[in-house]
């Protein structure tokens, strides 16, 4: 279910060796550095990582929305419904955007145009991509507003974004994204800007519409809780790379990569009494200066000599999972999440 060859027709979305660089004053920032990612039709996949790990840039790169000074490197591939999006003519990629592949933005406060009515913004997408009269587009826009649970849709359609609450605006953004019944929706932190109670409503709504329309969702978030509840498979991203790929249940049962372990230890839980949350020591390095070897090794509690010297590939761990960590080769580690006797850098003889 996770390999690129799993379905005979090929997956819905297949990102291969995606690299995005930004020319900055401090040098070249490799914001996305060799990402491979697959989304099958109809499934929900999570992409998790801290701020600055490259997950949003990945989303933008898929639709070729990376702007100057950003640059998608040659050799990157984004196949969507069998077509290489990176090789399409401008006109053809525009026909994909918002039509078969839609993006839901993070900030409902700013992603709506303040001077256009809600209804006309939904109708605009419909008219961009589908033939039909103005009246037909308007009718469909109202339909979408009702579908996303906006009360009094007729009146709201003639209103402006500033007249709506944050949750309502996010519903409008979802209506816009889904107006053309896309086959894949990339939701970039769709609920981060909202209250917790509204977050749940929005996700329920998205879930319901996904089931109705049979679309696939790539959910980009830093919130592991969201991923646990809503996705079937998860990619964990760190420093521009995928560091772990697994089924959601397996990942939460036993995270393989030390970074994933750290992330989970940093999530507050009700079922465990802890004095304080474990933070991952150190900080995400800047994208202009990724460390050599494994990019996580300066912050990794298990780092040993090889981590410093050699970047690990995504190593398969036998049950269809992969992690970018040399410890995956260690059988004891795979079982327990704790490495067998190694010469650990940070601890003087703490190993059993």
């Amino acid at each position: 279910m996770s390999g690129p060859d799993a379905t005979p027709g090929g997956p819905l979305l297949e990102i291969a060796d995606l690299r995005v660089t930004f020319a900055t004053g401090d040098g070249v920032a490799r914001a996305v550095d060799g990402v491979d990612l697959v989304v099958e039709a109809g499934e929900t996949v999570g992409l998790v990582g801290e701020s600055g790990c490259g997950k949003s840039v990945t989303a933008l790169a898929v639709l070729r929305l990376v702007e100057h000074p950003g640059h998608i490197a040659h050799g990157s591939r984004v196949r969507f419904e069998g077509r290489d999006l990176l090789a399409l003519a401008d006109r053809d990629i525009r026909a994909v955007r918002g039509n078969h592949l839609a993006l839901i933005f993070q900030e409902p406060a700013t992603a709506l145009n303040p001077v256009l009515t809600i209804g006309s913004q939904i109708a605009e997408v419909i008219r961009t991509h589908q033939h039909g009269s103005r009246a037909e587009a308007k009718r469909r826009a109202l339909e979408m507003l009702r579908a996303v649970g906006i009360p009094d849709a007729e009146r709201r359609a003639d209103g402006y974004a500033h007249q709506l609450s944050g949750g309502m605006r996010q519903r409008v953004l979802i209506a816009i994204a889904l107006a053309c019944r896309p086959h894949l929706v990339i939701a970039d932190e769709p609920t981060t800007a909202l209250d917790v109670t509204i977050q749940a409503e929005i996700l329920e709504l998205l879930d319901g519409l996904q089931r109705q329309m049979g679309m696939a969702v790539l959910l980009i978030t830093h919130n592991l809780g969201l991923v646990a509840e809503r996705t079937r498979r998860v990619y964990v991203m760190y420093a521009g790379q995928i560091v772990e790929e697994a089924g959601t249940e397996a990942l939460f049962a036993a995270p393989l990569h030390p970074y994933t372990q750290g992330l989970m230890a940093a999530v507050p839980r009700l079922d465990q009494l802890r004095e304080r949350l474990a933070a991952i020591p150190g900080q995400v390095p800047p994208a202009t200066a990724w460390p050599g070897g494994c990019r996580f090794h300066p912050r990794c509690p298990f780092a040993f000599d090889r981590c410093n010297a050699e970047m690990p590939p995504l190593l398969p761990s036998g049950d269809g999972r992969k992690a970018r960590c040399w410890l995956v080769e260690d059988e004891a580690y795979r079982g327990t999440g704790v490495p067998a006797h190694r010469d650990q850098q940070g601890e003087g003889g703490g190993a059993p």
């Binding site: 639709l63 900030e107 700013t110 992603a111 256009l116 997408v125």
Partner: protein, 282 residues
Amino acid sequence: MSRLRGLWARFRARRIAVAGLVVVVLLALAALGAPLLAPADPLAQPDPVALQNQPPSPEHPLGTDRFSRDVMSRLLYGARVSLGIGAAAALLAAVIGAGVGVAAGLGSPLVDQLLMRGVDVALALPRVFLLLLVLALWEGAPAGVVIVLLAVTGWFPTSRVVRALVQRLREAEFVQAARALGAGRWGLVRRHLLPHLAPAVIVAATLDVGNIILLESGLSYLGLGIRPPAPSWGNMILDGKDQLFSTPWVAAAPGLALLVTVVAFNLVGDGLQDALDPRSEK
């Protein structure tokens, strides 16, 4: 559009700006209604000897000039020239400035650099001398040419303002969102940029009208803009300047009209600018 409606509400709160607007509207009506309002033909010289340099009287509210022409009539017809040229040139300058600003703001860094460095150079050239040069070489240039010249030498500041706005707007998330939904370049400009640019461009154009009216009057005063006998406020002042002490009404009437007009347009422009400033929002 709700945004323009809000602008109007904030503009209305400024009395002096509203006063300016009232004057501008009256002037425009006077210019449009010149054939109805004027007591006489502005070009007619009924009796250059007996009726010259008459002081104001019921028959000639603003007196007559040295050719016995009715000053009031000339003033009203001159308003058509001044306001007409001012409005047309300001509008044209606004369109050119907005176009270049959008092109620079949306274009590649190379296009942007070319356009903006070009504007820098153009701003370094003295506008009045450029105009004098062209009009001195092209004797008897028609009003249309004067309008184009005034516009072509006057759009630079607008283009800078618009470019800065576009650069800010194109980073706006709703513009990104529109691109992500498949909007083309033209659609972006039309639907997402222009409505946001309109208020700033309107302010720039309004302030420009006063400026251009002054410039045109200056050119006419020097005998280079609107040619006599057609009346323009500038050449009327020229007519009256030699007799400023004997028959002051001939030059004073167009001079005062000019002053009032330019102040009125500036008041409206300033009022709009204040109304646009988000910090002034209550």
